[in-house]
Symmetry: D2
Subunit: 338 residues, 4 copies
Amino acid sequence: MGSIYGKTLKISVFGQSHSPAIGVTIDSFPAGHAVDMEALSRFMSRRAPGRDKYSTPRREADVPEFLSGIKDGVTCGAPICAVIRNTDAHSRDYDKLSGIPRPSHADYTSTVKYGGFADMSGGGHFSGRLTAPLCVAGALCLGALERNGVKVSASVESIGGVSGSEEEMLSVISDARRDGDSVGGIIRCVADGVPVGLGDPIFDGMENRIASIVFGIPGVRGIEFGRGFEAASMRGSEHNDPFTVKDGRVVTDTNNHGGILGGITSGMPVDFRVAMKPTPSIGKEQKSVNLKEMRETELTIGGRHDPCIALRALPCVEAACAIALLDAWLESGLPLAV
Amino acid sequence: MGSIYGKTLKISVFGQSHSPAIGVTIDSFPAGHAVDMEALSRFMSRRAPGRDKYSTPRREADVPEFLSGIKDGVTCGAPICAVIRNTDAHSRDYDKLSGIPRPSHADYTSTVKYGGFADMSGGGHFSGRLTAPLCVAGALCLGALERNGVKVSASVESIGGVSGSEEEMLSVISDARRDGDSVGGIIRCVADGVPVGLGDPIFDGMENRIASIVFGIPGVRGIEFGRGFEAASMRGSEHNDPFTVKDGRVVTDTNNHGGILGGITSGMPVDFRVAMKPTPSIGKEQKSVNLKEMRETELTIGGRHDPCIALRALPCVEAACAIALLDAWLESGLPLAV
Amino acid sequence: MGSIYGKTLKISVFGQSHSPAIGVTIDSFPAGHAVDMEALSRFMSRRAPGRDKYSTPRREADVPEFLSGIKDGVTCGAPICAVIRNTDAHSRDYDKLSGIPRPSHADYTSTVKYGGFADMSGGGHFSGRLTAPLCVAGALCLGALERNGVKVSASVESIGGVSGSEEEMLSVISDARRDGDSVGGIIRCVADGVPVGLGDPIFDGMENRIASIVFGIPGVRGIEFGRGFEAASMRGSEHNDPFTVKDGRVVTDTNNHGGILGGITSGMPVDFRVAMKPTPSIGKEQKSVNLKEMRETELTIGGRHDPCIALRALPCVEAACAIALLDAWLESGLPLAV
Amino acid sequence: MGSIYGKTLKISVFGQSHSPAIGVTIDSFPAGHAVDMEALSRFMSRRAPGRDKYSTPRREADVPEFLSGIKDGVTCGAPICAVIRNTDAHSRDYDKLSGIPRPSHADYTSTVKYGGFADMSGGGHFSGRLTAPLCVAGALCLGALERNGVKVSASVESIGGVSGSEEEMLSVISDARRDGDSVGGIIRCVADGVPVGLGDPIFDGMENRIASIVFGIPGVRGIEFGRGFEAASMRGSEHNDPFTVKDGRVVTDTNNHGGILGGITSGMPVDFRVAMKPTPSIGKEQKSVNLKEMRETELTIGGRHDPCIALRALPCVEAACAIALLDAWLESGLPLAV
């Protein structure tokens, strides 16, 4: 399994849902950045489970321990390793699943790929829990970006097809939970203050880079930039963003291009939307297959699960965006203040 | 600029719209594969311009010359380099644009990034013309996949928001051309016969890999797998694909997951959709900025342009998908017949 | 700083001499390998300090904790992370050095490169202590290779220019220690049982791969394969290794080529030698510079140091060789038994 | 086969000895560098065969055609591709070898590795001819380095064990040629004017980077930095280089460290030596094996061969060094003037 992202800034995520710990190694993070541990903790708590009735009651402090790369609260240039202990794992909940793959999970594919050696307890290395170390890395990148005037912010645009007031969206989740079911959602992420010049043409464009890390968040089914799929219904005269001069800077009147032209940031906000599928772990009985006996069977998943992963995915999407931007920044040769 | 894709199989695309040639180097392509030059030529002609009234009248043979890596029509294991000469370039059409960036093009961002040294004539390295070498690499990969039972096929799903009969979609394009305008479109790509086990968790999943190369095709604004953005409106009980046994194989009743679970192919068809924006080069007068004088101005783009790039993008999407699949295949350790 | 090695099997080393822990993340290690913890422990103890009077009296258990990637003693395919706590660090010994770079150490270059943010206490990320996680990764690779018939073994060939009996070599070290000085040495490493076909031409040859990791061991000043520098004095008729048939296999009569031809292993033993410089930390007073005041000064290094790092480098060289071989093996497509 | 070097600046070499062409793609070369075609041509002619009686009479103009990445003689930021046509290949000379591997060549290992599909005519992708594209890339890098005050220069230190006057060394070559034999040699390479701060600790040190590319030159058997293997016989008090202040800069009195400390350049000259084996192709009859019949046989190699590859390897070593330095420079964040 290869779980490394990045070209200059390299993020290597490790751990399984029920291994002693999960964590992340961050290579080539620039030296001299003070790490705001309180901001990190607040950021982590947005992803953490068990905060309210809309997410899984599994409780984990998710406080990372930094093993290296930070001296007196400041990055020293050496690789940063942060680990989070797995303290509240109920592997018993999962053990009974073995041999019967959960629908829309990685159980079946990982069993075939790793010849039965995969540790799939709790989802193993495929678990949404692995987004915690992603968020640790993201928090550091968000901090560095903020010091350089960039603000990344994700919000829920719709839940189960319903957009509008928070109340309405939350009631869609409550309904799904009550039915032992789950719902999907759409997340929008905007990065303001991005300089012109991040990203490269063709395969290393900002879209490629952001998509490549965002699909690392379990449950993501689609990504679109600017007007995205809507652009396919538009005419060029409507979709093109006219250039203009404002306060001595070149900007565009509209931002249908989502802040990226030719793979390179334009100085307009980077703007993209992410589709999250409904949580595959649901309380209802489902149809599956007993792999040993190669016969159909029924399956009921116990354990604790979010009825809607889109909520807790918000900081993950921000983290992913920040990592992709900082990686491109380090390659761009543009100055980065500490 | 970094224009290399792939982890094991490495595709390096080079060339500008008006440089002496464009081309591709393919590293680590397995030895022993006979290259079907006729199939390659047919494949290239699907991407080539000037075939009908729906595409640009610019005519280029686009016949690649293989400089290395092939001996007596069979790959020999050494890096393959293929070049296509640029014979029919009218740089004069483009020269007058210099200093005034075309809306929704890379002119502005590349000028800032490369300090004015970028060769943007005809779109330079950002031109859609660079998809020709991508298709050469793709054709080789498609051949190797076909010999192993995999068939990749892309089709137009809608043009300018209109789906349905080919006639209707083409008339949308004709209308746009008549108005000196352009339209976008949606492409669906399906890969049948993919074995279980290609791709890895987290950052090297098949979605990440496919997205990462598909965004290398100019004009792509979004990508979704399986039910994609629609999944965000669904419930888990509806979206989950029940496993079942068919002809002694584990399959799913439905394919909402688009043939990928946990980043790993499931044996079901890999299925994704791509949103293409309307061609940014349109005949109508547009608003832009004179970068030297930092004042607003008008711009009319001459030259020859496709009113809808989605049509010619079909083989490009197939090529991108095939390259991503073969790269993952080579890493998977699964046998690949020659 | 970038501390990642490997193309398929990726080894990412982290930690500073005085950070809470040091460790390694191993990506893409194949699933299904039982880890022999006793063999690992024996291997680590060969590198560990404080074993005898020829090495530094600093004592560290150097017992790695595996945080991920191993389930019930068997690799599960997910990234493996192992950490070693830094329990016996005397940073006080080093603190007085700050501002005065130790000759032949990384103090000066790291201070300039990382703008003064580098954590150089105890050598920081540049410390020989970072070879402990390298050895953890190496032990796993050695285990996998052994199960496949490959045995890697390093030995001391000379110390301070003296080869011959162990007694003589050790007395060279004792003399240096007595004088508050240090000595260098030459290590020879041989890998038996390597199959034909590991490595690639040009930049990914086995020599490139092995050299690239061996220079990651602090103090290495040179590497040579087969007859190495001696080959420069030979004639072709003397240096060429005639092919012959033995027990139905193609072998060579001599092994001047050191088991690698055209970057690819030949089936003969892989054979190389490594030059280690004398430990730069010596007890004698040395000349250096006060960087703040830009004036010359004297420096005496306290702390505990090996008079000869070549001894403890033996398992490190074996580890480096094993990692390079296994990485090439995974890419070669040759079967690897678990 | 993987023939790509570099982390930021990526050099991809392609071609076989008898393919239509050989060449190189250079990715991420900075924009704005004027290419001095005359200097390039002079540089290439130092590597070119057929210049005098000490090298093979095979004559090739070796004038590269730049297909992309250069506009009006200046790099434009897009990938640079340069090709050299193979015009003077006598494959007939080589055809008779097929099935009988030449001693100390890649014939045997490549045949096993690529299942008999390798194109080994004239040495194929393993041929020393592939150093021509390496030199093209190197010439561009040397130009960029020179504009920034860095001068790389390689010289022959000894031939066949004889150092001293040029005349003596050349007579060693003449003697070998007369005997239908060949000799090895040692090359020393020095880079002056290198700034402090290129390279990284552990696996990405300048030694690792330089070794990794230098072993890409066919025939290299060893590399050593600074005092190299000699350092193994020295004491620390002798080998350590005292820091001092000179003209307001921190320098060392001696340069036993070869300009690299902790993997990072120190500002002192980068200084290394390379051992080249004697040319494996000799006129004398040799012992080998008929692979089809698995029986021993005799082999006499025809064709044209250098009796000593060390001479023509000089520009190759300079090229390799320059590429490694520029790659590290681009990553270092240090400014690079155009």
